[in-house]
Subunit: 368 residues, 2 copies
């Protein structure tokens, strides 16, 4: 299938960086949280090779923030997640499954604690602002809940530390993984976290004030010329190799965090005030779960609906949700939801790819 | 600017009709509620002429439904809107602004009452499912809130009655505007309402069960050959002429329903239990409001960010949010938010269009 066009609209919001993204030659977009997210600049393969060898700047403004601030802020955030937030430090980032009263996923953001009464939720693709507003309204919570003017810009790749040190100072590279610090850019304080949606290392700058967007972008590109800094974006190949799950594709509102393989973020024994605790506790032993799966043969076509996985008898025992050819591992790397009966390392299955049936192998871990 | 590509993804959901939409030659999409919405099939102008003269079938599955069912269903829905829902009949559809505790818009769906304890909200582009879930969870309401397997298919145009009568029976054309009835298709009951996002007349079929999608589509096309039935979609030209507002473009989370011109849907004197009542009551006299506005000169370029409107002294007194050339009215038809000082019929303003400044005229009403 050829790629369709995307009709421009004010409703599909541009970001503080979109003019620079266009100037860098973006080839295609996706839409995420009502906003434009670049999907490749050269080819996905070339973007991938560059990401693994140099440094890229990613416009991930689509990770919209929900700010929860006030005396009941921690209480509200804890209502939404099985992860125990009670011992989080002020400079920490937590990856948190957000779960409804039926135990099903609604989002899987990174939560940032700014202080004990102030949090940001850096969202995957659903309007969790509205869930938080609903809790605050009906629960009479003493909080403000809103979308601040904050747009994340990721700096990813093996040379990210070098670039970030040049622009924001040597000290920032001391920041540990999933911790954040504050930098100052032209008089404006901004949060900088060691995080990002790749396994190549790097940072996410939480741009505070859209008006600084192009100046920050330009400063990074001016300082990174000799590092071959380029515009990039979350890369399909690399994120599958690394097992980074996409909410809405790999894990959805149909799944529990246990099915999503997020067991370690479910502190059911200690968490207090999470509204889905009772329902989720009953589903702590999943009958299917996310797995890495290699599909044999030539590169598979692009995936637009889940591809069934069959066992020897032709029974459906799972579905592939993300899939692409890996130039590095020379196989089709995929993410699949597989039944317990067939989820062990090494199990051979048949994948119903649109062009043909293919042999596939469940793996004990992702590639990176 | 040339039109960018949209990268396919499972996260951008296909609908029960997408294969038929593709076969009908869809040229471009937008993304709405995490789902694909066609934006034109031939050219916007040709689609427009056909819509005004024949009948079209529109895949508007993106109008995702929130089902609220249970003893507290009416209570929950009323918490979200200033429209008084207390006297709604079981076969009625209500256009309702959904408003937060600060008096700002969150969505503007059509609410359908199925019975006193069961409602559907046919959403504009935001995840109001999550707000409703938040209210239910924190308010301990006795309701179920979920997205049912219901996908609206619109039949629009002057020949819509003829086509619908042929496929669903003569009786259904007696259905009055914004009322609904039940049809039976191959043994499956489905809601059919006289409604739709055009002013050309027609119906929306609430497809109940994705598995019936292609059969319904095929039945409409088989029965409508001599009516020149075609695949269509909400048409930019026609909807601006008719003053149909797009949530996310013309009206946003920054606006009150009064600014949106939705005063008649705000029953502040009689409504009971609406959570935004106090805040909205203080904003009942807007200082800016939606207006129709004609822009002189050649066809304007496509709009991707609001275009400022200036008065004689160069002061910004409003913004255009939707704009296109109307072949019928031979002017650029636009929707704008205009300050009270300049919102009267006939006021002349200067529109800052990217290609040039243009003369523009505020109108007392929309074109259709």
């Amino acid at each position: 299938m050829s790629m369709p066009f995307l009709t421009p609209s004010i409703r599909l919001r541009r970001t503080p960086f979109t003019r620079r993204v266009e100037a860098a030659g973006v080839k295609a977009y996706t839409v995420y949280n009502h906003m434009l997210l670049p999907s490749f600049f050269t080819t996905p393969e070339e973007d991938y090779r560059h990401l693994k060898s140099a440094v890229q700047v990613w416009d991930v403004s689509v990770e919209r923030q929900v700010e929860v601030v006030g005396p009941d802020a921690l209480r509200l955030v804890q209502m939404t997640t099985p992860r125990d937030m009670s011992r989080m430090a002020d400079d920490q980032c937590y990856y948190i499954p957000m779960v409804d009263t039926a135990g099903k996923l609604m989002n899987d953001p990174v939560a940032i604690r700014l202080n004990e009464n102030r949090y940001w939720l850096s969202l995957a693709d659903s309007d969790m602002l509205l869930y938080c507003k609903g809790l605050a309204a009906a629960g009479n919570l003493n909080v403000d809940v809103f979308e601040p003017d904050v747009s994340p810009l990721a700096i990813q790749g093996p040379k990210a530390d070098t670039l970030v040190a040049r622009v924001f100072g040597e000290d920032v590279v001391k920041t540990k993984f999933f911790r954040h610090t504050t930098i100052n850019f032209e008089g404006q304080d901004m949060v900088l976290a060691r995080s990002g949606w790749s396994h190549q290392g790097g940072f996410e700058l939480y741009l505070q004030g859209s008006e600084y967007g192009e100046a920050v972008w330009d400063a990074l590109f001016a300082a990174g010329k000799d590092l071959d800094v380029r515009a990039g974006c979350p890369n399909l190949i690399e994120r599958i190799e690394a097992g980074l799950l996409s909410f809405g594709s790999d894990i959805t509102t149909e799944h529990t965090p246990f099915e999503a393989g997020l067991t370690k973020y479910c502190n059911l024994d200690t968490v207090k005030g999470f509204l889905g605790l009772e329902a989720l506790s009953k589903q702590a032993t999943p009958t299917k779960q996310i797995r890495a799966l290699a599909v044999d043969g030539d590169p598979v076509p692009s995936i637009q609906h889940p591809w069934p996985l069959l066992d020897d008898s032709g029974e459906v025992v799972g579905h592939i949700s993300s899939s692409t050819w890996s130039p590095e591992y020379e196989t089709n790397v995929t993410i699949a939801m597989v039944n317990r009966s067939h989820w062990d390392d090494g199990v051979r299955l048949t994948a119903k790819i649109p062009d043909a049936d293919r042999e596939a192998t469940v793996r004990g871990s992702f590639w990176i």
